[in-house]
């Protein structure tokens, strides 16, 4: 009984020392990106930039010579 009376306050003090205010804990939020911002993300929202990429795609990856298109397909 005496030992319990001594141990219980010690245990309470020890556990109290481990307490962290919930506001300071970093909680895991699934699927929310936590890294740095990428400047390219804003560039890619520009419709003119998207059109530029599309034009390059047509120029480089499609058949290059219009007259040869049927033959090359």
């Amino acid at each position: 009984m005496k030992r319990a009376l001594v141990c219980l306050p010690l245990l309470a003090a020890a556990l109290g020392g481990c307490y962290e205010p919930p506001g300071e804990v970093v909680l895991h939020r699934p699927h929310a990106y936590k890294g740095k911002d990428d400047a390219l993300r804003t560039v890619l929202t520009d419709p003119a930039f998207a059109e530029r990429l599309r034009a390059r795609q047509r120029a480089v990856q499609d058949v290059r010579i219009a007259g040869m298109k049927e033959a090359a397909l």
Partner: protein, 194 residues
């Protein structure tokens, strides 16, 4: 908004591995890491088929879903990228990915892994565009320069297509309509055109 996609035309791919080499050279990918690889079915047999595979930049990317540190993000046009400063190299994304795209450089003995590395669609990562830090971590940022992935741009047979999914579909659809269901690369019609 365009969705950036890769497509490899199995009827055109000749397994030259130039896309693999170009990718490694452009991004100076470390030894043992392949962001892109060519897979061949029935290798050595008549009718073998090859496709070039890398990160397919999934619309609902499983790597993003399983990442315990949420280091992945997706641009508005669908490019899946990640922050190597957050990555812990756990390998969850490798197990989740159906294409085996995530790669890990061996850093020490006994298979100790480094940060995950994968195809970035030549769009770099979350560092200032075309900075030294970006090149060191993620490779060259061709998208910021108004270019498309080098693997597709230099494909000699134009088997690998990359860019706006609608344009990729248009190019591929035109090919399929022209050649029909059967490959016309070799055969009687090529040798003796009517």
């Amino acid at each position: 908004m365009a969705r950036m996609k890769f497509l490899c035309d199995a009827e055109r791919c000749i397994e030259c591995n130039a896309c693999v080499t170009a990718c490694k050279n452009e991004h100076e990918v470390p030894w043992g890491v392949n962001r892109r690889r060519v897979v061949t079915l029935n290798d050595g047999e008549p009718g073998e088929k090859s496709i070039s595979v890398a990160c397919m930049h999934c619309s609902d990317a499983p790597c993003m879903a399983v990442c315990p540190v949420d280091c992945f993000y997706q641009t508005d046009n669908g490019i899946v990228l990640h922050d190597k400063d957050l990555c812990i190299g756990c390998g969850y994304c490798f197990y989740a990915c159906p294409f085996g795209a995530p790669q890990y450089p061996q850093k020490q003995a006994f298979g100790v892994r480094g940060k995950m590395d994968k195809c970035t669609f030549c769009a770099g990562g979350p560092e200032p565009d075309n900075s030294e830090a970006e090149f060191h971590k993620y490779g060259r940022n061709r998208i910021a320069e108004g270019k498309l992935p080098l693997c597709a741009e230099m494909c000699s047979t134009k088997a690998l297509l990359a860019g706006d999914g609608d344009v990729v579909s248009d190019i591929y659809r035109a090919r399929v309509l022209k050649r029909g269901g059967r490959p016309q690369t070799w055969g009687w019609d090529k040798a003796y055109p009517a």
